[in-house]
Symmetry: C2
Subunit: 336 residues, 2 copies
């Protein structure tokens, strides 16, 4: 197994994966598990968070919302190589899907946010993304009567601050799981849920070592791994993964392993969004991460399996946002 001797982060610790990898690669082991709908959601908070997720007034321009780059109509991503930010700035990295993000050991490709709540605050204040500030976003919400009332109903008093704002968004994001994919039905015992080709692809996926990294209920998100493990990954994108956070040479090009759930919807692939074709992405992963050239037939089998990972997409009414008041600070779309 090529991945056995590779240093891997699992959770927040560092382990050598030699034994774990063997367990993972046995066909149908429990480390690959169905997506489950969480039962511990504060629904009032999540409803508030849903509005905030869709609200472009959290950006300086009044035009960009969380949903702009994590579009829940499109697999929780923007389907662009890298995102578009304030003043049409080109973002540095591919927007990861928000779907099933609660399964991630940390957030962002480099794991610089420890959880959904910390992540939610990032883009608001990032000058290349929503280009606002936490103070300005909070001040805006404080002037909107509908939000003041809803924060009071949810939190017990009408204080609006960045902690509550990001807590509500995170609570909503916890609901964004995609259960009942064909693969989940298969895992739960319905062997007819996957075609013969998909089952062959699943077997190949596990036996080839893909599950060394793509494991857990989300088939990803459980560890960091080097992009270009066997052969270097060629890209113009300057991101260096965990290294950008830790400045530790050993972390160079270690990125959070992305979830493969709904991967048929979350193109283009890799941290630089360089590849639109899922088959091509499989081929590259085989070569760079596993040192293996999948045949055309094998590649098609794995793609067929990956297509079985599309689950039930978030199903909710489009939120209606509470209108601003006359004294709400107006957005500043054309001030860079």
């Amino acid at each position: 197994m090529v991945a056995q001797c590779i240093k891997q982060y699992i959770g927040r610790g560092v382990v050598f994966a030699s034994t774990a990898v063997f367990a993972l690669t046995v066909y149908g082991q429990v480390s690959i598990a169905p997506i489950e709908v969480p039962s511990d959601i504060n629904m009032a908070q999540a409803e508030l968070g849903k509005k905030l997720f869709f609200d472009p007034r959290l950006s300086k321009s009044g035009f960009i919302s969380c949903n702009s780059c994590h579009n829940l109509s499109m697999g929780g991503s923007d389907n662009l190589p890298t995102s578009i930010g304030h003043d049409w700035q080109q973002g540095p990295i591919n927007s990861p899907t928000v779907l099933n993000a609660s399964y991630n050991l940390a957030q962002f490709w480099d794991g610089r946010a420890k959880d959904l709540k910390e992540q939610a605050g990032g883009p608001i204040a990032n000058p290349k993304e929503m280009a606002f500030s936490h103070a300005a976003a909070v001040k805006t919400l404080q002037t909107i009567p509908g939000y003041v009332a809803e924060f009071e109903a949810v939190f017990g008093d009408n204080r609006i601050d960045i902690d509550r704002l990001t807590s509500a968004i995170a609570e909503f994001e916890k609901t964004l799981v995609t259960p009942n994919s064909a693969f989940d039905k298969f895992l739960k015992g319905d062997k007819a849920a996957l075609s013969a080709e998909q089952q062959a692809g699943y077997k190949l996926f596990t036996n080839s070592g893909c599950t060394a990294c793509h494991n857990g209920p989300a088939l990803g998100g459980t560890m960091y791994q080097k992009m270009g493990l066997i052969k270097p990954y060629k890209t113009d994108n300057p991101a260096q993964g965990r290294f950008d956070v830790t400045k530790n040479e050993a972390d160079r090009m270690f990125f959070k392993v992305p979830t493969l759930r709904n991967v048929a919807m979350t193109y283009p692939y890799f941290h630089d969004g360089a590849v639109y074709d899922l088959g091509e992405a499989v081929k590259i992963m085989g070569e760079l991460q596993l040192g293996r050239s999948f045949s055309a037939k094998e590649q098609a089998q794995i793609v067929a399996f990956l297509n079985s990972l599309t689950g039930e997409q978030p199903n909710f009414d489009l939120p209606i946002l509470p209108p601003s008041a006359a004294h709400t600070p107006p957005p500043q779309p054309f001030k860079p």
Copy 2:
């Protein structure tokens, strides 16, 4: 009546409004009517149109959808003075609400599109908006298996062209009516639906001549009128309304009268989006269009009435878009 001798367009003809205005300004006349839910919708076509309305793949960037500037979470508008287009270009005019737009005699502020279908094709091909072409949008959709199947189910065969594309969007937009506002309940006989202040505001609204222009079920959209009828409207915005279409001097600064339905949600106001405060907008309209200075009390009464025009907002599940295929032309967000 100041508006009596003003040439007005009603429907596609031209009439002098002297007698009509008197009828309209009588308190509670039938020309002000409730919003009704249309019964003649092709629901399959509207469902397809809903997806298309939310699909940013109709833009060159893959980032801008109809919903970007006619955001159904925000009163069918973007709540910006003028819109943001491809490459963050500043749009020339305030984005009119799509809500109840089926009641408009024509589309756009200058009426250059005769109906919703014709309007829907405009922004797709406008280099300052979605910056795509009809051919490119159609070609993109033709590669998306989910759309091919849905066009076939809706239209009887799988041909995708701009005519069907815009027909489906228009059919969806016909569903975007906002019935059952407090004002509609009042019109239908529930006199308690409006407060005393709102009823006073409604009376003032009709007796002051506002209904000379803001009439019909949408309280607007039935005619063109000069912006700055009594006193000139001062703006840096170069738009000249109907004149830009007809090149007829008599049409200079004649704009389509905007609907007042959901006006509390569709700030900022006027074709240049210059005013965020509804009270201020009422004051300016009184002075410029009616030659009348409303007192603070009168202004508050009219605003209270206008707040009663917020109806039930569109209520539907966020659409999930069919994913692109490997051979779908990739979006080009950073090519201006």
